[in-house]
Symmetry: none
Subunit: 214 residues, 4 copies
């Protein structure tokens, strides 16, 4: 049912010229960066946790920041981007009859992605305020493509008369906010709710909220 992949594992396996040590470093660094933040994690700690010498880290990653980028950039550039696009195609290709079906597919799709890449996403969200390059990379390589794709989709359902004639970006924002609010609640507050029911209610809310005014 799920063909989603864990980005980190993927990266580790796929890349054949990755040493065993290198894998260990990436895993350890991901763990620590997520927990304490990039700036507050020392290369010494990472080395210890990875069970390698400190020098080994710098043999593979010129600087500490390089290490961060090698965790977070692939997620965006190599994986997040293509995957999103691919997934969106997948979603669109099925040509869901109704907007609400499309939204449901999106939610489930992103949910699986999140579930498998929590740590890296967490690092990304935590560090993006402090690294302008990260921000720019994200906007340039991912953001723009995703947004333009979504605009098409919104237009598609608007032209079918299923959703209200607001600016596409507004529709996207309202929808995305609602979905991300759901994820935030789920992963930060961690409530004991029934996922399926909650998703149904959310979609019902979106459907009603975005229904064209008569």
């Amino acid at each position: 049912m799920t063909e989603e992949i864990n980005l980190l594992d993927e990266m580790l396996k796929e890349d054949d010229n990755l040493t065993d040590k290198q894998r260990k470093i990436l895993v350890a660094a991901t763990e620590m960066f997520a927990e304490k933040g990039f700036a507050a994690t020392s290369t010494n700690e990472i080395a210890k946790k990875a069970g390698v010498a400190e020098g080994t880290i710098f043999r593979h990653y010129k600087t500490k920041k390089d290490l961060l980028l090698s965790i977070v950039t692939p997620m965006m550039v190599k994986m997040l981007g293509p995957i999103i696009i691919k997934d969106l195609n997948k979603v669109l290709d099925k040509d869901f009859e109704r907007f609400e079906d499309f939204v449901r597919a999106m939610i489930i799709n992103r949910q699986e992605f999140l579930e498998k890449n929590l740590k890296v996403v967490q690092i990304f969200l935590q560090e993006i305020p402090f690294h302008p390059e990260l921000r720019e990379q994200f906007i340039e390589h991912i953001g723009k493509k995703v947004v333009s794709r979504l605009i098409q989709i919104v237009g598609h359902y608007q032209s079918k008369g299923q959703i209200v004639q607001l600016p596409a970006t507004t529709v996207i924002r309202l929808t995305a906010s609602t979905i991300m609010g759901y994820f935030a609640a789920k992963y930060i507050i961690n409530p004991k709710w029934n996922d399926e029911e909650e998703i149904n209610q959310m979609i019902h809310f979106l459907k009603k909220g975005l229904t064209p005014d008569e």
Copy 2:
């Protein structure tokens, strides 16, 4: 029209036993923490920016973390909490006939707050993942009170038949997500939109989305 106050200024003026230097330290630290993050800001930088000796910082704040807390805790404990409560009273006391009027009042009220305290809120959001005490303090002193208040309010409008009979927390989440999505877009992406129109659309969306099903 706005009686909102800038938290930092407030703190600086109100507290009579704050030295001039201490004020400068707080302003400089807020600036730097917001920009580079707590861990990546050195006390040396803060001292230079504040135009004081480094020792002066530690005369007033036992540790660097103390300095962070003395910026962020008052916001929560002394100011955010009471203000929210007071504001909510203000909002509720008017007993807005319609849920949408209440939401509009809330948006404007929080908008003003945000506008005047962007930096401190930014620090708070950026640092909360790395400081468990901050998280606990926030939940204990602020979160719980605010949520229980909002639950009352939702119940109020539900009993008037204005909004759908979902669990109050779900209603709150859907509403809050939408509003926060608006703020996120406004302050992060900084689009050139028409605030008033955007707010109107958002409220319309919420109203429709939360209308009771017939």
Copy 3:
């Protein structure tokens, strides 16, 4: 029975131009220096313990070292010296018939002194390795006088045929070592012994050990 005085109290009372604060500083500093050593005690700690402002210390004592000297020098220069001399006179004037009576008087006399000035003596002994001036002061102002006096006394009892014809300094060393060993055991190891009996045994040991060889 005892006319011994507590050096610190003496100093505090006697000196009329000592402020109340100054007294508190001296008491606090003595306490801390004895406990943690001079170098490891901060003026801040002393100020807190004394209940005065840090500046007040430096109003009275130009430097931290000045404070140390003003505790330890009077003990030597003003008090230890004269007192020893005076006391020795007292002891000698009685012209104890036997050497052992003289020794006993000495032990009791020094015991009382120690008992009342443990802290200051402790500071003196602890700090003397690190402060050459202290060492020189002691030798110059106290040591020489005391030694030359003791040489006279030893000569006195040697000429009476009561003690062996060794160099006076050797006799002094053997006697002083024995007495100081007793004090060291008493104040450092703090054994549960009978003081009087122990002193009797010690004197008996000295008497036998220093008896002229036939």
Copy 4:
């Protein structure tokens, strides 16, 4: 004639996993601690004197206090203890006919030890008042063993009727005081005396002083 070893040299040579730099650090630290005291010696000074970077010190010794302990503890735990025991055995095994012969052997034995380890012993004596752990370590690991051994020995000579029937601890105290008084005079006052003669007189004094009363 002497098989005594210099503790520090011993430590430095023996331990094969000691870096060259580490050796230099230990030598420099010993020098400085002896001269200025632990608290008054800065790690910066030690680094300069050792010709290493300051960071190097902390790579090998987690804290400055660690450095002190790594100089002083081995002396007690690994070396002083066993050596004393071993030496005492050596001394006892010869089963000196007379108590005075035993004492003489002891003096010479300890004299050699002192001569070769003056600095470390000096540090130990100077710092013990300020470091309770040091005190406890010493009592636990060294003091108790040495004392119980000495009690046996005293009993041995008492049963042979050579020394007076005082409590063994009293005999030990009187003897040790006399010997340590000799060492104190020798190493602190540094008199120009004839060692051998002085030792003979001291032993004669002890013998007479501890002779059983008829």
